[in-house]
């Protein structure tokens, strides 16, 4: 559905020298340098997939999305959405996509949410039955009625985002581009938003490309990821595969022995050199180990032989950790080879 | 005391920096001011082209040209956007933040406006003056009149600032800043003598202008610039009259400001 091929975007950045002379000089001759915001990005998103597009600030996420929505034209390379190049066929593309740019409103600041939705119905020529069905859904899940007839400009950020999300899904778009869609939303509404998008994906086959700083959004919605760093793709694959790349894993256990917390920690660290043990809640111990050095099996076996284990579990690797490692230069490949 | 002066001087410095950041807009501002001035000047000059040789209000062609030019330049200096910025501060609620600062808001606003006025004088008013002096014969004042004018012009800037601040207070009632400032500019433009010298006004209008403070904003300084007074005592009386109106308006502004602060306190709970 979405295809990016060696997609590159360069910007000219003008450097104006400080001071009056520099400013006057800039009137006649402008010095600039090229900044490559997106650098040869290639990825594909099949129809119906839910992909998280992740990267640290300034990694080129927003610029990619701007190219995919037709706002800016790539410097080189190309991208297509449903077979169309968005920047060439902007209006035809716009009809089939739904957009939320969290920082920027898509609505009319001096109109109420119901007015805005009615205008959007006209613009996208949404048939009445579809409009009624979607509106009922939004009212139920996003509690649009609570926004009343207040102007969008006077809504709080969270209230506005509920309206933005409704606006982006009103015309049953084939592809949804959501850039920070849950800023300002409380937990209940975040869940509602996840539910809304997952439902659209299930029932209408909506393709999703999502960026969010809230990793819960990603975990709740997406099944695969494209990770960007410094304008380049550093990982493309399922969320599962991403988590498997974790360089460190955790095990938390409790035991019935007489050893105190400090002694337990010392015992564990002696038995498993290189493993960090810390006290967790209710007398449990939390182990952090390097997958390059220890396998889960070895760690568990050691624990079972040394302690009278009463409870033991291994949480998912922390997505934040994995991303942090990726941004820092990627996991060493030999780490994966050693794993059992 | 010295500390607080330094604090306000800091605002002046900040103002200068932000003014210079938008220096490109001064080129455009010169064009805008020159255009506005040209419309009035050409209209009045056309009057003098008529074969009946009229002399409205006793003005000759060079003196009326000078009058209108200096009047428009003063209007430029008076238009420091304090009214709309102040209104905006009230509407966005920034005013509450400003009130929490250890500086008096009106005084801070004035300090921020001073560099704008100075920059407008140097980068806009003087170039436009030079342009018109090159195009038309003007009547230049002597040293004494120039000094009197300088005092009156400075005073008029303070008066205009107070009027702008009072205008900005409308924002507590309505959000249509555009309409209110348009209304103010128009009323002030008419009764200050900016479009028609009070001497050339029909009697009822001239009487009305005499009763309002706005005449002190334009007519008084330009009158001194052109030396249109009889004796030195006459000139000093004009200045005293202007100072009185300025003091009165500043006082009114201070009173309204106090009520506004109370009202904002009430609104914010």
């Amino acid at each position: 559905m979405i295809r990016a091929e060696a997609l590159t975007k360069e910007f000219r950045q003008h450097d104006v020298k400080p001071g009056l002379l520099g400013g006057l000089g800039a009137l006649f001759r402008r010095e600039h340098r090229l900044v490559r915001a997106v650098d040869g990005v290639t990825f594909t998103v099949p129809a119906g997939a839910k992909v998280a597009y992740i990267g640290p600030n300034g990694s080129g996420k927003s610029t990619t999305i701007k190219m995919l929505t037709g706002v800016v034209t790539p410097t080189s390379g190309r991208c297509t959405v449903g077979g169309l190049e968005p920047y060439r066929h902007r209006r035809r593309n716009a009809r089939r996509i739904g957009v939320v740019f969290g920082q920027r409103s898509q609505l009319w600041w001096d109109l109420s949410v119901p007015d805005a939705l009615r205008i959007l119905q006209r613009i996208y020529e949404v048939p009445d039955p579809v409009y009624r069905r979607n509106l009922a859904l939004f009212r139920e899940l996003l509690d649009l009625d609570a926004l009343g007839t207040t102007r969008v400009g006077e809504l709080s950020l969270g209230q506005r985002m509920r309206a933005e999300i409704a606006a982006s899904l009103l015309h049953d778009p084939a592809v949804v581009f959501w850039d920070e869609p849950t800023i300002g939303l409380d937990l209940a509404f975040k869940r509602a938003v996840h539910e809304l998008l997952n439902r659209a994906n299930r029932e209408l086959g909506t393709t999703v490309l999502l960026t969010s700083h809230d990793l819960n959004d990603i975990a709740a919605i997406c099944d695969s990821t494209v990770i960007l760093s410094g304008g380049r793709v550093v990982h493309e694959g399922s969320l599962r595969a991403l988590l498997d790349r974790a360089a460190h894993r955790y095990t938390i256990f409790g035991h019935a022995g007489t050893l105190g917390t400090a002694e337990t920690i010392r015992t564990v660290e002696e038995a498993l050199p290189g493993v960090t043990a810390t006290a967790a809640d209710e007398g449990r111990i939390r182990l952090r180990y390097d997958v390059a050095r220890w396998s889960s099996r070895e760690v568990l076996a050691t624990l079972l032989t040394r302690f009278e284990v009463t409870d033991c579990y291994a949480p998912e690797p922390d997505l934040q950790d994995v991303l942090g490692e990726l941004y820092a230069g990627g996991t060493p490949d030999d780490a994966r080879a050693v794993r059992t | 005391m010295a500390g607080s002066v330094v604090r306000y001087l800091a605002f002046v410095g900040v103002g200068f920096q932000s003014v210079l950041r938008y220096r490109a807009s001064f080129f455009v501002s010169v064009a805008t001011t020159a255009t506005t001035t040209a419309v009035v000047v050409f209209l009045w000059r056309a009057v003098y082209q008529h074969p009946s040789h009229p002399a409205p209000g006793g003005f000759t062609l060079p003196t009326i040209t000078t009058y209108l030019l200096v009047a428009q330049l003063l209007i430029r200096l008076h238009d420091n956007r304090v009214d709309s910025e102040f209104a905006n501060d009230i509407m966005t609620g920034n005013i509450a933040v400003a009130l929490a600062r250890p500086a008096r808001y009106p005084l801070m606003r004035f300090c921020l406006a001073v560099p704008v006025i100075v920059a407008d004088l140097l980068l806009v008013a003087l170039p436009v003056l030079a342009l018109f002096a090159w195009l038309f014969p003007l009547r230049w004042p002597g040293a004494a009149d120039l000094a009197l004018f300088a005092v009156a012009a400075a005073c008029s800037v303070v008066l205009a600032f107070a009027v702008n601040l009072i205008t900005g207070m409308h924002a507590i009632v309505t959000t249509n800043t555009w309409g209110v400032t348009l209304l103010k500019t128009t009323v002030v433009g008419l009764f200050s003598g900016g479009l028609v010298p009070t001497d050339a006004m029909p009697a009822p209008l001239a009487h009305a202008a005499a009763l309002l403070p706005f005449r002190s904003m334009i007519d008084t300084p330009v009158r001194l610039f052109l030396g249109r007074y009889d004796t030195t005592a006459d000139a000093l009386r004009l200045l005293a009259h202007q100072a009185l109106w300025t003091a009165g308006t500043v006082l009114l502004c201070a009173l309204l400001w106090r009520r506004l602060v109370v009202r904002i306190g009430v609104l914010r709970g």
Binding site: V71, V72, Q103, D115 | -
Partner: protein, 276 residues
Amino acid sequence: MNRAATAPATLHGLLYYAGLTWFLCRVSLRRLVTYRADFLLGAIGFVVRTGVQCLLIGIVFNWVPTLDGWTRDEVLFLFGFALLPRGLDRLFTDWLWFVAGRLVYTGEFDRYLVRPLRPLYSIVAERFLWPDGAAELIVGISLVGYAGHRLDVPLWSAGTLVVAPLCVLCGALIYASVKLLCASLAFWVLISHPTMHAANQVAEFAGFPVGLYPAPFQWVLTWVLPFAFTATVPVAYLLSGEPGQLVWLPVVTAGAVAVALAAWTRGLAAYRSTGN
């Protein structure tokens, strides 16, 4: 794509935009009713301003019977007529001020590019029926009616009824083109509001006969920023019945529109979407 296929598509496009415009105008009317206090204040401000300008004309004619050959009523007629194209333009395109002043600079312009509309339409459609434009039209029509009646201008003749609205329409297009050209500059310099403001000030010249101004000014107002064609030229025809420069009006209008649209198109391609 063959011609047979494009024709219905174009027709559908026209109907689509016409229907949308009608709908958005209705939304704007409701908006006016909701904020009628704001609307009234703006209207009062405008009426007072126009009143003062008429007063200025009155005062000037206290001293002389004619100005460059124009009588008081003729100048009032011209002044009123000049408000019509300006008001008509303002009624529909004032959102361009925000393009020049803010939208490109902050990157908010993005939102007009993700809607399935032509960007220019999308921009002006942000808000139709600006109340200030309505006030301008009403005052202009009143002045033209008053002065035209006193001057015995055949306001209800077929010729006037056909030519005058066309002149107003062309004049509005000239105003819109100048505005669009200034707004387009923002794509390169980010904020072009001061330039637009300056051009808007130049339009003030149009409220009086261009004969009042020196020859170089007249030339600029006729052929560079062709505001003379929005008032002086059509009014000279309406008062005298002689076409004069009026034959150039369609050409000048087409030229202005073409230049503005070219600048807009090139500007859109240069849009960088700065901000976050």
